[in-house]
Assembly symmetry: C2
C-alpha cells in the first residue's frame, strides 16, 4: 500500500491519493463532496444561513426531515467544522445551531444551487414534459 502526501481524517479506505481529486473514489475531497452534495446538508445549511436556529426550529422548517436524519446531518456538519452547536443550560436545555465562517463560505455556493432550482424549475418541467412525450411516442411506435 503506497503512501500519498494527501491524507485526512474521515478517510477510511486503503489507498491515499497524492493530491486533491474529487473524481478519485478514495480521495478525501471526494468523501467530503459526498457529504456536502447531499440534500439534507444543503437544506440545513441554507436554513442556518438565515441565522441561529434551534433543533426543533430546523425540524419544523425543513419539511420531511426525520429527527434522526436531522441529528445525523447536524453532527456531520459540526464535525466538518461547518456548523457550531451552542448549548444553553436552561430547563429544559436549549440547543441552537449556526454556521461557522467555513460553513458560510460553502453556503455561498450552495445558495446558488438552491436559487437556480427555484428559478429554473419551469424550464426543467418543460424539458421533462418533452422527454416524456418523446418516450411515449417511441414506445408506441415500437408497439
Amino acid at each position: 500500500m503506497q503512501e500519498g502526501t494527501f491524507t485526512a481524517p474521515g478517510y477510511r479506505r486503503g489507498t491515499v491519493c497524492p493530491e486533491p481529486d474529487v473524481f478519485a473514489a478514495d480521495c478525501p475531497t471526494r468523501l467530503l463532496l459526498d457529504r456536502i452534495a447531499d440534500k439534507w446538508s444543503v437544506l440545513v445549511l441554507t436554513v442556518l444561513g438565515e441565522g441561529e436556529v434551534r433543533f426543533n426550529g430546523l425540524k419544523r422548517r425543513i419539511g420531511g426531515i426525520s429527527q434522526k436524519m436531522l441529528s445525523q446531518t447536524l453532527r456531520s456538519l459540526e464535525r466538518d467544522g461547518l456548523v457550531v452547536r451552542t448549548v444553553t443550560p436552561t430547563v429544559p436545555v436549549s440547543v441552537s445551531y449556526a454556521t461557522t465562517a467555513l460553513g458560510c463560505e460553502l453556503l455561498r455556493t450552495l445558495r446558488g444551487m438552491v436559487d437556480w432550482a427555484e428559478r429554473r424549475m419551469d424550464a426543467v418541467a418543460q424539458a421533462q414534459t418533452a422527454y416524456d412525450e418523446r418516450e411515449r411516442r417511441l414506445a408506441q411506435a415500437a408497439g
Copy 2:
C-alpha cells in the same frame, strides 16, 4: 386536496404548493434539488463541463460509479434538460453526452461547490481532528 398554481411533471405526491419553496417536502423545486444535490449528478455534470464525453469515458473518469448509477444519472439529467445525448450510428454505435445551456448554467454553481471541497479540505480535516479529540476526551471523562 387543494390546487396550487405551481405544478410540474415529476411531481408525484398528493399536494401542490402555490409557489416555489425548497423547504416544502412536496414542492417540485424540492424534488429537483434532491436530484441535483446528489454526488453522482454533480460529478457527471462536472465532467461534462469539460466537453462532450462518451459513456465509457464518463465511467472511466468517475471513480467508483457503477454502470447502473451512471446510466440512471444520465437519464435523469437528460430528462431534466441538463444533458443532451447524441447517438452516432457507427458500428458499434457511439453515444456521447454533453451539457445543455441549462445544464451549463447549473454547472457554474456546482463548480463552486467542487472547488470549495478541493480548496478547503485541509480546514475540514483539521475540524474533524479537533472534533474527534474532544469526543475522545468526553468519552474518557465519562468513563
